[in-house]
């Protein structure tokens, strides 16, 4: 019986062959699909699938296949997944990467294989500076840009002293450097907490220190699940009544539904900075956000927007060379042109292949259906240059 089945399957495969003789655009996508941080990876996967749906599963007349791989929130697993994709001769683009430390551990594997690497989130400063590479592109930002914008916002709002908390890993350090680069007031304390699969989620000791420091405001970076834990404890500790909370990558489409469910009203009206917002008024973004909401029932966060843009960016490059996937130079030129309808509106690439784009101040509001979401208040930086571009030899 099994033998018969095997023969039948082989036969079916053989008949299917003609369709396969045409090349497929294979894109590897490494994200986090297990551990609690999977909330982010699932949004990215959703966004990639929506993008493939929007382009009818085709780029330059060829089928598109996305190979999703799990990094398990861990640099070793991410590197192994990258090696697997780098060794697959049919994969031309290796993308994804939520976490800076995962991306840094994987970069040489991917780039040495001569394939394109496109980060759809991780913004480790090294990749935009000393370690920049002609085949490395970003649809996101460099880590310190968003906290730099937040430092500027705090200056504008007259904040005189802050207490900083962030996880102890590559991006956490970039975030702290960023806010310290632009914030003019006093920094009364800094806590770097344990990160990874066994990340610290109980911040009692750190919150007590923040209170004792007497800082006027607290600045934090806690992406994914840790953000929910932080904000809840921030409110439980009573600190919300005496200090202002400024966050980056903590209050977004991922955490807001959970904050709302948990009734953490302190989040409403709080400020954060980002390069994108679900309310941005351009056709690509409107289509992306409304279809995402309709299909998955919650607002996309920037992680999803970046993943969606990644598919569109690759499509523009594949079509620019008429589907000739061996034309690396041609595709590189096309990627650099960023000639596609991005959800953030038009942007250009700097010489280090990082976007030159605007950064906005966003506020948490309630939408017409009572859901919490971010809305743009003002533009903090227009067409911001990447701060590490001078260190990039390209």
């Amino acid at each position: 019986m099994i033998k018969k089945l095997a023969i039948a399957t082989a036969g079916a495969t053989m008949f299917a062959l003609p369709a396969w003789s045409q090349e497929t655009v294979k894109i590897g996508f490494i994200t986090t699909l297990t551990t609690p941080a999977a909330v982010i990876g699932i949004q990215q996967k959703n966004a990639v699938e929506l993008a493939v749906e929007h382009i009818g599963g085709q780029m330059a007349g060829m089928d598109v296949e996305i190979l999703f791989e799990d990094d398990a929130f861990n640099p070793q697993s991410g590197r192994t997944a990258s090696e697997k994709l780098a060794n697959d001769p049919d994969v031309r683009f290796i993308t994804g990467y939520i976490w800076s430390h995962v991306m840094l551990a994987s970069a040489n594997v991917v780039l040495d294989s001569g394939k394109f690497m496109i980060t759809a989130n991780a913004g480790a400063s090294q990749m935009s500076g000393e370690a920049c590479n002609e085949n490395f592109f970003s649809t996101s930002w460099e880590n310190s840009q968003i906290p730099r914008a937040m430092g500027e916002v705090m200056n504008q709002r007259g904040v005189e002293s802050i207490y900083i908390m962030a996880p102890n890993y590559a991006a956490g350090k970039n975030m702290v450097e960023g806010v310290e680069a632009t914030f003019n007031g006093e920094i009364l304390g800094r806590d770097m907490t344990r990160w990874g699969a066994d990340a610290q989620l109980d911040f009692s000791a750190e919150l007590a220190k923040a209170r004792a420091s007497g800082a006027e405001a607290v600045f934090v970076f806690y992406p994914g699940r840790a953000g929910g834990a932080f904000v809840k404890q921030y409110e439980q500790s009573g600190l919300a009544e005496t200090t202002q909370l400024y966050t980056v990558f903590t209050v977004d489409g991922i955490s807001l539904p959970r904050f709302q469910e948990a009734g953490l009203n302190a989040v409403l009206g709080s400020y954060n900075t980002n390069y994108w917002s679900p309310d941005m008024d351009n056709a690509a973004n409107q289509r992306f956000v409304s279809d995402y909401l309709a299909k998955y029932g919650e607002y996309p966060a920037h992680y999803a927007a970046q993943a969606y843009d990644m598919v569109m960016l690759i499509k523009s490059a594949v079509e620019a060379v008429g589907g000739d996937l061996d034309d690396m130079d041609g595709m590189r030129e096309a990627l650099r042109a960023a000639d596609y309808a991005s959800t953030r509106g038009d942007y250009s690439y700097g010489s280090n292949n990082y976007p030159i784009q605007n950064f906005y101040l966003r506020e948490v509001v309630e939408d017409s259906e009572g859901r919490w979401t971010n809305q743009i208040v003002s533009t903090v930086y227009e067409a911001m240059e990447n701060p590490y571009i001078d260190q990039c030899p390209m």
């Binding site: 609690p36 066994d198 989620l201 009692s204 000791a205 809840k232 500790s237 009573g238 948990a262």
Partner: protein
């Protein structure tokens, strides 16, 4: 001074949570001589079941009350179906089998609840804080955890020292064979003790989600290592030892996170101190365990006979 008192209370709360987990672990290890790595799974199961019950009934406290018997039931079933066959086996077999249970439960819960976890909603009166004398604000939920933990500790003390069942538990811990020979139904006793340990772990798991907002897959796997540190420091099989060691571990961990960076800044640069402090703070309890075992290899409160 206010900071120090706040941190002492925070450390006490962490210690209490560890105690609830360690109490069951030390009894199972001490009385049944079973190394149960899967004890953290009950922590997770209690959190998921309790969070779901809280969501269905709309009350966190009802979830808390229901989590106890339901986690007991899961522990009971696991003991009867799986662990009972392991008592006479080598410790390595037990480690392998209970490690398998961890993988089983992690996957099972992922199949039932999905990879993202279950959110826990607290009522407003638990989301705030209480100002203690001396103008020290402490989150209400942390005070509740301390209160429940102390109640459980008192109950366990009473159970083990003052009741017939406690007498049998102590007899079983001292000499299993002799207790059995004297007509004690050791099997039934073990099942009860095991279920009780699972119930306490489940209670701890649910209470921890009141702080971290969500019950998540694998949440017990991190804290179980600390629970093992606690029972080794306290002396395996000793409830009193587990209590003292939990509080000590909780305090060392919290105070390490609070003051270590300032201490390190005296010797190394500010930036290095801030990067190194969380790593060293995480190691402190293991360093302490090594130090205690050096002077007292059986732990602080070794059982009188084994």
């Amino acid at each position: 001074m206010i900071l120090l008192i706040t941190q002492l209370i925070n450390g006490l709360q962490l210690g209490i949570l560890l105690f609830l987990l360690a109490a069951g672990l030390t009894l199972v290890f001490g009385i049944m001589d079973l190394v149960n790595l899967a004890h953290g799974s009950f922590y997770m199961i209690g959190a998921f079941i309790g969070a779901t019950m809280a969501a269905i009934t709309g009350s966190f406290l009802v979830g808390l009350v229901l989590a106890l018997p339901l986690a007991f039931l899961v522990g009971y079933i696991v003991e009867v179906t799986t662990l009972r066959t392991l008592y006479d086996r080598h410790h390595l077999d037990q480690v392998l089998a209970t490690f398998g249970l961890i993988l089983f439960f992690d996957t099972l819960l992922q199949l039932i609840w999905g990879p993202v976890g279950v959110a826990v909603v607290l009522p407003d009166y638990l989301n705030g804080f209480i100002t203690l004398p001396g103008d020290i604000p402490i989150p209400t939920i942390r005070l509740l955890i301390i209160a429940i933990g102390l109640l459980v500790a008192a109950f366990l003390y009473y159970l083990v020292v003052r009741t017939k069942m406690g007498m049998l538990i102590r007899a079983g811990a001292s000499n299993r064979t002799m207790a059995g020979a004297l007509g004690v139904d050791i099997k039934r006793l073990f099942t009860l003790v095991f279920g009780m340990g699972a119930a306490l772990a489940g209670l701890a798991g649910l209470m921890s989600t009141a702080i971290t907002t969500e019950a998540t897959i694998g949440m017990g796997n991190d804290i179980i290592i600390q629970a093992f540190v606690v029972i080794v420091i306290g002396g395996i099989g000793s409830i009193r030892g587990a209590f003292v060691a939990s509080i000590v571990v909780g305090l060392v961990d919290t105070l390490g996170r609070s003051y270590l960076d300032q201490l390190l800044k005296l010797f190394i640069t500010e930036q290095n101190a801030e990067t190194a402090a969380p790593a060293i703070a995480a190691m402190l309890i293991y360093i302490m365990m090594a130090a205690i075992l050096f002077f007292s290899p059986q732990g602080l409160f070794p059982p009188k006979t084994r």
